[in-house]
């Protein structure tokens, strides 16, 4: 190699990896310049995570080479990756929750049988790192007491403490509020300016545009393009990712709200420790409208959804649906479904599906004791399979295999099946938490169109989403939550990102309830 220019901080040459019959990475070659932020974007299942796991030594490539700073390295394990100066921050943090920040950082590199010396050295080193990169974290706080944004910062500190020059972040904003994401981006820019290289793996176009210098697009295990971020547009990237033109925003007509289908009055929910999570929430939901709940995650949206769905019981207030007060009459989730209330939960894998069950068994979750699923004392397997096949065909779930485990489907296809389950029973009111979390762009378009079609068919939809874009794209009316209260209400036409952002921060808006 001729020393014409600086060697790339990280370079992959023809990296190839198969898992059985799946060709996860096809001869991937790309280079990350030192002191840059490089985006790696692609739909779920495009092979991004596999590639990064190869770089970090979790998987071994079948063929191909990895070069760091112009030297070929053989990465056989995460330890080898760390030794080569590569650090990784996973989507799901790898922290010991009941250890302090300091203990977490030195974990595995204590440097001796006795802790005290290592801890003192680490403290000095970390304080220096914190100064250099503006990475302030309270070192003696137990990790479980930190907000998610700070936990992520601990992960970054861990990598830097181990001498990382190249930092890989896998979907880092998936768990962050918009403010926390902004803080993260600021931090990453600082790291770049100090000469570190950052690889940002994501499927969110917006953050690619905001933060990266260059971006590599993957589709079906192969690289389909690499561009300088400043010269591209979200639309162009989306088309490269999906392989066809996509609609980034659904087209819809003006809402025609009808009668009130769901009325919530003065709802108060407390958590196990007795802390009020919802403090007197009241609103109406009308037929033929989509109401979006905006807010920084953790401000009572989850509790609101669960209270409405019957998973949590409020201590005060009422929920009126179909002539019943669901709170006073202690109506459970099953009876609420019978009253025409359907619910797509926020966290699909925690609540919406049973990961080890087949698609067809998941397609009856919550409806398993209905007549159409049973014949006498037994489940009607034939009917269940047929119903699942119909759902898969109508909602474009791929692969259309009812007996396949749900965990073998992509996030988007899982969500389409959950959505199919909840709308095929023809509910009057639909609660939807994070309609497109972990869902790829092609499926987002499909799901958004479905939701608008449901509205036009006269259903009442309540959507909770942490993606402000999604709320702005779908909702006809927007309620903003902060600290367990609804602090503002806006019609879509009056809503701007700035107005909502202020309300999310707790500033009471005009027309506050």
């Amino acid at each position: 190699m001729v020393e014409k220019s600086v060697a790339p901080a990280l370079e992959l040459r023809a990296v190839d990896k198969r898992f059985g019959s799946v060709h996860a990475n096809r001869a991937i070659s790309f280079a990350v310049a030192p002191g840059s932020i490089h985006g790696l974007i692609g739909e779920n299942g495009a092979g991004k995570s596999t590639l990064m796991n190869i770089v970090y030594g979790f998987h071994r490539a079948d063929s191909g080479e990895i070069w760091v700073n112009g030297l070929r390295v053989d990465i056989t394990s995460p330890q080898a990756a760390i030794a080569a100066g590569i650090g990784m921050v996973h989507q799901h943090f790898m922290l010991v929750e009941n250890f302090t920040v300091l203990e977490n950082v030195v974990l595995g590199v204590e440097g001796g049988a006795l802790l005290s010396g290592g801890l003192a050295r680490a403290r000095a080193e970390l304080e220096k790192l914190a100064r250099d990169y503006a990475l302030d974290v309270p070192l003696d706080t137990v990790v479980s007491e930190l907000p998610v944004g700070l936990q992520q910062r601990v992960e970054i500190l861990k990598a830097l403490y181990r001498g990382a020059q190249i930092l890989i972040l896998d979907e880092p904003t998936a768990v962050l509020t918009p403010q926390e994401a902004d803080a993260l981006f600021k931090m990453l820019r600082r790291l770049r300016d100090e000469g570190k290289s950052v690889v940002l793996v994501t499927h969110k176009l917006r953050e690619i545009m905001v933060i990266t210098d260059r971006v590599t697009v993957m589709r079906q295990g192969a690289i389909v393009g690499e561009v300088v971020t400043a010269t591209t547009s979200p639309r162009e990237l989306a088309e490269k990712m999906v392989g066809r033109a996509v609609l980034l925003r659904v087209e819809k007509s003006l809402a025609q709200p009808g009668v009130t289908l769901l009325a919530v009055r003065d709802l108060e929910v407390r958590d196990r420790l007795g802390v009020a999570r919802l403090k007197g929430v009241s609103f109406d939901l009308h037929a033929g409208e989509i109401v979006g709940i905006a807010g920084v995650s953790g401000n009572g949206q989850s509790e609101l959804l669960e209270a409405l769905a019957g998973i949590r019981y409020p201590v005060r207030g009422s929920i009126l649906l179909g002539g019943h007060d669901l709170v006073r009459e202690h109506v459970g989730p099953r009876e609420r479904r019978a009253l025409g209330l359907a619910h797509v939960p926020e966290d699909r894998l925690r609540m919406g599906v049973v990961a080890s069950f087949s698609a067809e068994d998941n397609a009856i979750l919550g409806y398993h004791d209905r007549a159409e699923c049973n014949r006498g004392a037994l489940l009607d397997r034939t009917a269940i399979r047929q119903a699942c096949e119909e759902k898969m065909a109508a909602h474009d779930v791929r692969p259309a295999l009812p007996t396949l485990r749900i965990s073998a489907f992509s996030g988007g296809n899982q969500q389409k099946l959950v959505l199919a389950r909840e709308i095929d029973v023809d509910p009057r009111v639909l609660l939807i938490g994070q309609p497109t979390r972990g869902v790829d762009i092609g499926a987002i378009e499909f799901i958004h169109k479905k939701l608008v079609a449901l509205r036009d068919a006269g259903k009442a939809l309540l959507i909770v989403s942490v993606e402000l874009d999604e709320i702005l794209g779908l909702a006809d009316r927007i309620l903003v939550m902060n600290a367990g209260e609804i602090v503002g209400e806006l019609l879509r036409a009056d809503a701007t990102e700035e107005k909502i952002g202020l309300m999310m921060a707790g500033v009471k808006g005009e027309g506050a309830v």
Partner: protein, 372 residues
């Protein structure tokens, strides 16, 4: 990060357990060798003792009957996400129920009345013994592993008290009840065969084996083909999803423990009504614990439980034959072999998974390349 390798179904259910079993037997062979006996001769003795004669087969299936009942009990609880260690105690108390019915009705009522009442009593007593830990788990969050272990001890103490002080046959030294009346005895298979004009060597194998097969079939239907079984499996796999679906996990937990205890409680039908014909001390003889291994190895599926129960039955029967014929090997050695089987098939079941997965993957790609 290292998720267990995904194997094809036939390898997962057939090949892998066989490899694990082979590993356990090889290691047992090493132990036998160290003791100074020939492993091959010991293995032949074990196999022929368990399966070589009609009598051996009879004993093997007789032991297997106990293991099927307790294995099913463990499995039903497992599907609700519960680890029921208490099948030993539930079998003990359940047997008391069946035994009391046999003592009470054995001389007076006809067999066709005694049998269903004895089944009902065994199931009810076993279920009742499981109810308290189940209730404590569901309503108070007391861990089921701890409470069921403790209930094993309570069951043992209670039975000792009852046998020594109340049920003991007057004028007798050993703590046993009097013999059941003739109408309370489950017919042995060799007797049934004789009635049909067939000959089968005498063994304790009795009608309870058929009841165990019936129980296995019922469990399969219940768990995989009914809405209750669906709710059970959802609760076990994902309690949050159960709440979301309108299932009440605490109710399912209690119901699953009731069924689990009822199944284990049926052990007395085989052991007391079928073989011993009286209530005596410690008649479950560890079958409750073997049931855990049986369920584990049988992947908590009735068919798997049937197969592994017969395997453990063969180990029990072949083992006694081995202890009888080889002076250097005693009954404890049989427990060692059982322990090794449990170790390899349960605790270490993933040891051979990754290499096997890699081997099969290489094999299938080689096949594909050859086809091109």
């Amino acid at each position: 990060m290292s998720a267990p390798a995904k194997l094809p179904r036939w390898a997962e259910l057939g090949l892998l357990p066989l490899i694990n079993l082979a590993a356990a037997l090889i290691l047992s062979g090493v132990v036998v060798k160290i003791l100074g006996e020939s492993p091959w001769a010991a293995f032949k003795l074990l196999a022929s003792g368990a399966l070589g004669t009609q009598e051996g087969i009879g004993y093997t299936l007789y032991y297997a009957t106990n293991f099927i009942f307790t294995g099913l009990g463990v499995a039903v609880a497992y599907h609700a996400g519960l680890f029921n260690i208490g099948c030993e105690g539930q079998a003990y108390i359940g047997g008391l129920g069946s035994g009391l019915v046999a003592l009470w009705l054995g001389d007076s009522a006809p067999f066709l009345v005694v049998l269903p009442v004895a089944i009902l009593a065994g199931a009810t007593f076993g279920a009742a013994w499981a109810l308290i830990p189940g209730w404590l788990q569901a309503r108070r969050g007391s861990h089921i592993v701890i409470t069921t272990i403790m209930f094993n001890f309570i069951a043992a103490s209670l039975m000792t008290y009852l046998l020594v002080n109340i049920l003991i046959k007057p004028g007798q030294q050993s703590p046993e009840s009097r013999e059941f009346g003739a109408q309370a005895l489950l017919p042995a298979v060799h007797e049934l065969c004789a009635k049909l004009g067939l000959t089968f060597s005498p063994s304790p194998l009795n009608l309870a084996f058929a009841l165990a097969l019936l129980a296995a079939a019922l469990v399969w239907v219940l768990v995989w083909r009914t809405r209750w079984g669906y709710a059970l499996r959802v609760t076990g796999q994902n309690p949050s999803a159960a709440v979301y679906a309108g299932i009440t996990p605490s109710r399912i937990v209690i119901q699953a423990m009731l069924l689990s205890g009822a199944l284990a409680g049926c052990l007395g039908l085989n052991e007391l009504l079928g073989s011993q014909h009286r209530i005596l001390m410690d008649f479950p003889g560890g079958a409750g614990f073997v049931g855990i291994a049986v369920a584990l190895m049988g992947r908590n599926h009735p068919v798997g439980i049937l197969i592994s129960a017969i395997l453990f039955g063969a180990l029990a029967q072949g083992g006694s034959q081995l202890a009888f014929d080889m002076p250097k090997i005693n009954r404890d050695m049989v427990v060692v072999i059982q322990g090794l089987v449990i170790l390899f098939c349960g605790a270490l079941e993933n040891v051979f998974r990754a290499p096997l997965g890699a081997l099969l993957a290489r094999f299938s790609t080689a096949e594909k390349n050859a086809a091109v």
